[in-house]
Amino acid sequence: MLRAEYKVEGGKLIKVQLTKQNDKIGSIKITGDFFMHPEEAIEGLEIALIGCPINEIVLASTIRNFINENKVILLGATPEDFAKCIIKAGGGSG
């Protein structure tokens, strides 16, 4: 299990736990003290990220697309912040 914490400018903290499969996301859990509306969307986002290559630009656009398509509102964190935290957790080799 790979883990990372990423502190967003302004104070919120994102935490990621993930497993990798062939350099892609095998499973992921995103936790933290940010706000997402509706709240239940977090589970859909985690599912949408499975199979996603661990590349910051691809991750950020995958998250942004999910947010736009599902009319999700994020407060205290951006798709780029989530992407950065995922890279921090799983960006290395192995």
């Binding site: 302004g10 903290l13 935490k15 936790t31 933290g32 003290d33 706000f35 997402m36 509706p38 709240e39």
Partner: protein, 256 residues
Amino acid sequence: MVERWRLLDTGLRDAFYNMALDEAIAIARSKNIVPNTIRFFRWEPSAVSIGYFQSMEEEVDIEACNRLGIDYVRRRTGGGAVYHDRDGELTYSLVVNEDHPLISRDFQKTYETLCSGLVRGLRLLGVPAEFKPINDIVVGGKKISGNAQTRGMGVVHQHGTILRDVNPKLMFTVLKVPSEKIRDKMIKAAEERVISIKSYLGREVSFEELKSALIKGFEESFNIRLLPGEITYFEEQMALKLKAEKYSTREWNFRR
């Protein structure tokens, strides 16, 4: 005519009931069974609540809580972990229809508007409170109130805490302090990030005095009248059901 809202004061209740009743009021409001409502409540036993997106194991020292008889519960709102001291803290919740003029589609703006009642109430007590985005109220840069909001079923639900008195030692016994935040603040003592009404004013402000000031603050800020009311039968039954089936369950509290 000035708009009338319902005022509830449910006193000391356990964490699971408190969170369940908040949701029950929101459901009742969505069905138009009850008017817009502000509720004051406290926690017995003292409790830790965590944000919807947080991990219980990562945020809370479960062993310390069990040892000290402190409850832990997941909220339906996002945001951070909070220690709710039985004797130190007052909690409020606010349930209002989403189509009310106070409510903006912009969440950030709505936080500021809804927090303005608390800010005004604290200032009436002589505490120079200010709103600090995203969801805090601060005095001289130190946090005195944290707030969290959710929406659904056409209803906005915001709840938050006001530190009347603070016990930082206990607070940081039951909360696992996020290391990065601490590092960020250059090893500044955790105690220095929060302030209570008592520590600012140098005197004890009773719960009754605090509630009176906040009632006035909400009334003046929102241009409403708060009329003391009762929980409806529907809300009580719904709260008991949500407590049993959701907020007191391991499945809910440890789901992330």
